[in-house]
């Protein structure tokens, strides 16, 4: 097991190096080059020259790359062009919002997806099964931002039930020690604020979670159908084991492997899909931040944000791989 983890960690090194090269080259390919990107569009030639000298942009490319690695290694992505604040600092503020949203979406898709797929498989070919198939097909065919708009229209505009903008009511004042508003409200012991943050989370989480929900339901259904006909399941049934125990100990546990893989694969999707969800619901996270950065040509923010999200994505995949090996002895021992 330890050897497996070490090997996966070592495989990470070339990927991270490659990623940094890619982003480094990307900055150099930006319109006007990095100095202009840093200074904005109204930069004078003198200012550009000065910055190029200051940042060593007149040095050979390998030297520049080495310097770039050093600054990125210190988690220094420079300054936001629009706010003049350190990109890292803004990142620290925005990231919890996105994680909170992604976790809520993940939670939603798992607690509904697995039971849905399981019961569809149990009633294979029946009405419920067919309905769930149609539902999951529609789920993957509706763009998130469209679902977001529809949810907003039904629950906020027509029914007036839920808020559609931001993370918390503007009138509620609580301290934010963690940046996760739901947690912050719990720490403050403020029930009203806690319920308010949850209400703000519901619609964005459903919009973002719809595609993972469909995929998890589909995979669960397929995996349960597969496992149900295995010899060991038949043996367990033949022994006279109660159907509930067979389902839990034999069917679900073995069906869990592909489900976990698929859940892991959704993490990247959640991080990227957050861009669209956050735009629809004015959620102040990394996604909305990056979209603003494109509009204002805020390249330091784009660079830091994309590199950081990619890093998180790679690390989460590592965790998924390791937990997969933990669940599946055939991989762990090979």
């Amino acid at each position: 097991m330890l050897r497996f983890v070490v090997r996966r960690l070592l495989l990470l090194v070339p990927i991270l190096l490659g990623l940094s090269i890619l982003v480094f080259l990307w900055i150099r390919a930006l319109p006007g080059g990095p100095a202009q990107a840093l200074l904005g569009e109204r930069a004078t030639p003198q200012a550009i020259q000065q910055i190029e000298h200051e940042y060593g942009l007149d040095k050979p490319i390998p030297v520049q790359y080495w310097r770039y690695l050093q600054t990125v290694g210190r988690f220094d992505f420079g300054q936001s062009v629009t706010t003049r604040r350190a990109v890292t600092e803004e990142l620290r503020q925005k990231f919890p919002a996105t994680v909170e949203l992604a976790l809520a979406a993940m939670f939603f898709s798992i607690i509904f997806g697995i039971p849905l797929g399981f019961f569809a498989a149990k009633r294979y070919g029946g009405l419920f099964d067919n309905l769930s198939l149609v539902g999951s097909l529609l789920g993957v065919s509706i763009p998130i931002f469209l679902l977001g708009i529809i949810l907003k229209y039904i629950f906020a505009i027509q029914l007036g039930l839920l808020p559609t903008v931001g993370r918390i009511d503007v009138l509620i004042e609580i301290k934010h020690p963690t940046g996760f508003y739901v947690l912050d409200a719990l720490i403050a012991g403020d029930l009203h604020a806690f319920l308010d943050t949850l209400k703000h989370l519901i619609l964005p989480a459903i919009a973002l979670g719809s595609i993972p929900l469909s995929i998890i339901a589909r995979i669960t259904r397929a995996a349960v159908l597969d496992v149900q006909n295995e010899d060991y399941v038949r043996t367990a049934r033949a022994k006279g084991m109660s159907p509930g125990i067979v389902d839990r100990r034999h069917v679900l546990r073995n069906a869990l492997l592909p489900i976990v893989t698929v859940i892991g694969l959704q993490v990247g999707f959640l991080l990227a899909g957050a861009v669209l969800t956050e735009t629809v619901f004015a959620w102040p996270g990394i996604g909305a931040w990056l979209v603003d950065a494109i509009e204002s040509r805020n390249y330091p923010v784009l660079q830091g944000g994309i590199l950081f999200v990619a890093l998180v994505f790679v690390l989460v995949n590592l965790v998924v791989d390791v937990s997969y090996a933990f669940l599946n002895p055939r991989i762990r021992l090979s």
Partner: protein, 302 residues
């Protein structure tokens, strides 16, 4: 020419044909796939015939129609109502099919051809070439798709061609991995060994023996990729990264402004939205149907 070679040729010619004929038989019995074909054919017809079936020009504005709070809904003259600038919504959606189809097909073609190229040489040459290409693909996969597309658009600037390239590039590693896997699986087959032993050049082995047999997963993935491409393109358009001329009737771009008028003119969000869902659904249904039809393991299952 030995008897063995003649025989192996015959087998090769027949086996793929049998597979396709068999797949077609199964596909014809699959009602969901037929519905998918129906949706996609409608989508393509609308895209091709837009200038003849659209009642108005998609760009013609008629500001006299706009009242306070925006946008009259459906009426006799404008069956789907008009948008915030008094343009006919029906005509815009019909013309929008052209953009979605064009952008979707071109971007998948870009991703597919580049992915096939890299995947084929990685799988066929193996060794250092394989390692370098596949690590590069891993790195591209390390950036979530939509973000990679956004990064590319930031580099190239917003616009139709730019989002085609961006979505296409995002698709490259998917197809490269798929084809490499297929080539590796086919490389060890007896008929490849046979072809090699009689001195067929490596390139013709790849082109005429390995690629045709690796085709079916590529077709399935290509169809599903079209569905995702339409979604991604609409998403980039929604974010304002699509065509920079706001008069362009692109579905995603059309949705951007609608959020503001949701209260008074929900039809402006619903109509292009339904168009996106129908076209995506069509490709998804066909893709799923093809996967079942071409995969012998899935035979007989819903």
């Amino acid at each position: 020419m030995s008897l063995a070679e003649i025989e192996s040729r015959e087998v090769q010619l027949e086996a793929p044909q049998g597979l396709w004929r068999d797949a077609w038989q199964r596909l014809r019995r699959n009602k969901a796939a037929l519905l998918g074909f129906g949706l996609v054919i409608t989508f393509v017809l609308v895209a091709l015939l837009a200038p003849w079936i659209a009642p108005h020009s998609p760009r013609a504005q008629n500001l006299s129609l706009i009242r306070e709070g925006c946008c009259p809904g459906p009426s006799g003259h404008y069956p789907f109502g008009v948008d915030a600038l008094g343009r006919d919504e029906l005509s815009r959606v019909l013309y929008g099919a052209r953009y979605s189809l064009l952008i979707g097909v071109v971007s998948v073609a870009v991703g597919l051809s580049a992915g096939l190229f890299f995947g084929a040489i990685a799988g066929f040459l193996g060794g250092i070439v394989d390692s370098v290409i596949m690590r590069l693909m891993d790195i591209m996969l390390a950036i979530p798709g939509l973000l990679l597309a956004i990064g590319i658009v930031a580099m190239l600037g917003a616009g139709i061609w730019q989002i085609m390239i961006a979505v296409g590039v995002v698709n490259i590693p998917v197809f490269a991995r798929l084809l490499r896997g297929a080539v590796l699986a086919q490389r060890e087959n007896d008929f490849v060994l046979a072809a090699r032993s009689v001195g067929v050049p490596r390139r013709s082995i790849l082109m005429s023996h390995i690629l045709p047999n690796a085709l079916s997963p590529v077709i399935v993935q290509g169809t599903l990729a079209l569905a995702t491409a339409i979604i991604d393109v609409a998403g980039l358009g929604f974010l304002g990264l699509g065509p920079q001329d706001p008069a362009t009737p692109e579905w995603g771009t059309m949705l951007t402004g609608t959020v503001r008028y949701l209260q008074t003119a929900p039809h402006l969000a619903i109509i292009p939205g339904v168009a996106i869902v129908i076209s995506v659904l069509g490709f998804n249904l066909i893709g799923d149907g093809l996967r079942e039809a071409l995969d012998p393991k899935l035979r007989g299952r819903a």
